[in-house]
Amino acid sequence: MDAEEIISSKEWSELNASEKEMLSDLVADEQEYNLLKKIMQVSAEMPDTVPAVNPSVQQSLVDVMKPVRSIKPWYRLAVAAAVVLFTAGLIFIILRKETKEPVMVKTLPSIQKDPVQPLVKTIPPDTSVNEMVVADATIKSPTRNPVVKKHIPVKEPALVFKNLQTDLSADSSLLAFVSEVY
């Protein structure tokens, strides 16, 4: 038993010689011993003199806890599903946009006016090939993005066929074959 325990549990008159010897460094007489007892007794009562804690402290803490409690697994799953759907939708829109880039095709003015015309003009073997042009397959509808960012120059078809004509006349057997096919 140490000094503090002795003081709190015993009266001065109850102390034996060895206990008094043990306490000699701390107390000189009965009055000092009783003073220490008073200090301990009053100290133990000190918390009773403290005002009560405001009930709003507990309430605010409970309020903090409530939102934490309401998050349930199904709610988390719903949030995850929404995120996945949104991402998938975004990817779909981006891919679709990429495939809808406008294609520049040179068309004849006459074809533009009358879309029923054949797509490719047939050229008889003896006709000048300079007139051969590829027409647009469909009627031009207004595009979503009418502004063409980059103009790709169309190579003059006549030049290609001019070369072909030269080559054909050079090779008589090939000319005969082509004539037969036509």
């Binding site: 140490d2 000094a3 503090e4 003081i7 460094d25 701390l26 107390v27 009055q31 000092e32 009783n34 003073l35 220490l36 007892k37 008073k38 200090i39 301990m40 007794q41 009053v42 100290s43 133990a44 000190m46 918390p47 003199t49 403290v50 005002p51 009560a52 804690v53 405001n54 402290v57 507990q58 605010s60 803490l61 409970v62 903090v64 806890m65 409530k66 934490v68 409690r69």
Partner: protein
Amino acid sequence: MKENAALYKLESDEWVAGRAAEGSVAAFNELYERYGQKLFSYFFRMLWNNKELAEDCTQELFLKVIKHGKDFDVNRKFSTWFYSIAHNMCKNEYRKAEVKAKYQPVKTPLSVADTEKNSDLQRFRKALTDLLDRMAEEKKQLYVLRFEEQLSVPDISQVMNIPEGTVKSRIFYLLKEMKEQLIGFKTLHIYP
């Protein structure tokens, strides 16, 4: 599912704290009932009898239990863990006060004893409170934990992170110092 508050009354602090950390309001309320006023009282005594500051600290401490309660080591005693956090929070407040004191003097709020006059017991309490306010931080904490909160020596050892033997010897010297400071009251009969 409605929680049965009565269920928690029979459980240990450690178990109730675990449920509170998981989000059980009933468990939290039980824990607050056990420690709310105790911790507030501790802060109030430690922090210059400042009610607002003590309430703020109490709130902050319980918030830590809500947020970090899962980190609590179940092998430790909950009350010791709780007081350890409170002890460190007080240390922080002392540091803040030191910085503040450099620029403006700290106003000590009126203690309860100031408003109550005359009786010997009130005079003795006032003297004790004044003595406590003048004490060094470590001594004050030791005094409040041992003589006001009535924590055991092993618990204080864990809270203050010092060996048990050191706690015992510090208590001895603390009592000696208090007796010398309050020697004027030795003839006073405040208890039968």
